[in-house]
Symmetry: C2
């Protein structure tokens, strides 16, 4: 394992996480062998094991990276937004952007957790649940402001996630639609489906 935080080995580790995350996204965790990752990086399987202890731990590190990305780009900024509607719009747009831009570590968060150890799985599930509750509480605020339509709030929250989590499975940045257009459209659909119209 890379002993200290030397720039070089740190960069290399990041390269490895990125390449592995892409393969896990494209083929799935179980269908990706450690040799696949190695050959994508033009090195040997044994060489990879210098950077992590097991394939499972590699997955856990990638998922943790993804959760950190969401925390930095979505959750932490969103916590500073007081208005619930504005906050929800921010969360949806920015999570959608991460997904559409092809941040594979973020995309993997919601799949493949069965492959983790019990402890790792619990850690990931707790962080995901915190995220879910944060969004759910935002909907509760909207409800109290009488801005929410008559839907079950839990169902609504999950359905919001469904819209965004499906994005990376169909959206191609190389196509006609820009990331910004798609994120805006998805966010608009979601909000209009939830909120009472006041115009």
């Amino acid at each position: 394992m890379p002993r200290n935080g030397t720039q070089k080995s740190h960069d290399r580790a990041q390269e490895i996480y990125l390449a592995a995350a892409q393969l896990f996204f494209e083929k799935g965790f179980e269908s990706t062998s450690v040799s696949d990752i190695a050959s994508a990086l033009k090195m040997t399987k044994a060489g990879l094991y210098y950077y992590f202890e097991s394939k499972q731990e590699l997955l856990f590190r990638i998922v943790t990276l993804g959760l950190d990305s969401v925390k930095d780009a979505v959750l932490d900024p969103a916590h500073l937004i007081e208005d619930a509607e504005e906050r929800l719009r921010f969360i949806l747009t920015n999570h959608a952007r991460l997904a559409a831009e092809g941040n594979h570590a973020v995309i993997i968060i919601s799949h493949e957790i069965n492959a983790l150890t019990f402890d790792q799985r619990v850690t990931v599930q707790n962080r995901r649940r915190d995220y879910f509750e944060f969004v759910r509480n935002t909907l509760v605020e909207l409800y109290e402001e009488k801005k929410l339509r008559d839907v079950d709030i839990t169902t609504a929250t999950f359905t919001l996630f469904g819209m965004i989590l499906w994005l990376p499975r169909w959206y191609r940045a190389s196509g006609k639609l820009s990331v910004e257009t798609v994120c805006r459209d998805v966010c608009d659909m979601a909000l209009r489906g939830l909120m009472v119209q006041r115009n």
Copy 2:
């Protein structure tokens, strides 16, 4: 392989497809070994191979079953509905119901197709594309009736699928929410997100 359509072997085959579909849903195709399926059915691996030629072919049969279910319960009836809005509501509600009721074959349609042969994959993708285009064309009709909000129709169609495909990953029939409530809520959210409000 079961030679003829005798009731007995046909029933047994169905049992096998059901058990395998459930495991594929719960653990994923690659993480489910043929022995896992066998022990779930209290028989041996070799015994299973009397009913299919390969694990891959078993998956293809299950996916085909799922596509047939959607055709029977959603697409064929929907084709008879003339009003576009009513048709869309029917499609969403009934596909959501299949998903929420735990029809594993249906749920698997949208995952695991990477494990298929090229020909099988093309077949599945074509059927899925037909479905997608049918829904998309329904949105085009709504657009022409000036009933659709200003969203990209392709994005909207994919987003509808996202809402429904995510359903089986979180909904538990054993919980507080009934299948009917959830399907109605999801469908309402989707339609209200899409359609201009006329009240």
